[in-house]
Amino acid sequence: MKLEVEVNNVSLYYNGFAALKDCSFRMESGKIYGLLGRNGAGKTSLLTLLASFRKVTEGFIEIGGEDPFENAKIMQHVAFHYETDYKEEWENVKGMLKNVERYRPYFDRDYALYLADRFKLPLKKPINKLSKGMQSALEVTMGLAARAPITIFDETYLGMDAPAREIFYQELLEDQTNHPRTMILSTHLVSEMDYLFDDVIMIDQGLFVLHEDYETLVSKGASITGPAEEADKFVSGMTQLNEQHLGNTKAIMVYGELDDARRSEAQRRGLEVGPISLQDLFIHLTSEEV
């Protein structure tokens, strides 16, 4: 099942405070989207709108050509997973997975149990007795196994430890290959997750900043590595994002595309031109100074 997401001039106000201002973009089905933004940028607000947790104040959202709010036909296909508070949840893990299976048309039980096993989730234990990391792993398990055409993870993985996150990334990529869907991952663990993204959407202070595919985006900057002096000379006049030294070698991140002439000049000077990290670009594009 393919569902496209269209966000048209969407604004969201909480008692006069604008959490989102006039955001517009489209999401095609079958891609993994990275939703990046600083704390309080409006990431979660945007996702709650897509998941019909809230109503849009201005503008409109269409999923599969329909308004998703209170629309059973669409809502069952949109899974929004976030760091849920399970203090009062006495149900055990297995019971919870069984319940979710009743409401998600594409839920795969075997896959859910396989994931639970990979995350070492105790099936018989009540959920409120699980550690924070285990609760996150359960949330992720429900999200992946539901195979909802639009699957949203809002920093669900923050509570998980590094090995568990690694398992999550692996499983996500593998299951996405076998069962393509629209996946939206909101995060500020940019450097850790950038290889997962097909497309990147960035928002800052409630405003839409950009929507670009990952490759195009990282080609908007470059890392220049080589002897310190040559590197400094080469980048003078360019926007520098970040630099690192190692002995006499320097790596400088610059913003702005390099044309072929510049590239061959870099080569002549004995400098290596590489792609920029999304993390550096993200910091640059959303820092206060810009």
């Binding site: 059973a72 069952q76 899974a79 929004f80 009743r102 409401y103 048309p105």
Partner: protein, 116 residues
């Protein structure tokens, strides 16, 4: 693979869970009633129907309030509409009220032979 509405599933799920709570509730009310009879040395002031009437109303109010906290967020989280929740929980509540009335009537009926 799209289902049109989910209220029947919600009604069944909520009824099953709330029925478990209701059985516990009835058990404790019946226990309180029996203790009350013993304290009054066998002279029951009222039958089980009259005894449980007030607390049953409050019980329905409590599970009604709890239902919003316990189920509404949960169901919306799992992709169900508020409307389906509303219809499902209303059906479930009506079912609980009916079963409770029936159970209390039955227990009251059983109580009478003891006083003969």
């Amino acid at each position: 693979m799209s289902q049109r509405s989910f209220f029947s599933k919600i009604a069944i799920d909520m009824f099953t869970l709330q029925m478990k709570w209701t059985l516990w509730f009835l058990f404790f009310v019946a226990l309180a009633h029996i203790i009350f009879i013993f304290i009054n040395s066998g002279n029951s002031m009222m039958d089980f129907m009259a005894f449980s009437h007030g607390s049953a109303k409050i019980y329905m109010l409590v599970i009604g309030l709890l239902s919003v906290y316990a189920f509404l967020t949960y169901y919306v989280h799992h992709g169900l509409t508020r409307k389906d929740y509303f219809i499902g929980s209303a059906i479930s509540a009506a079912g609980i009220a009916l079963v409770m009335t029936f159970a209390v009537t039955l227990l009251t009926g059983l109580e009478y032979p003891f006083w003969e």
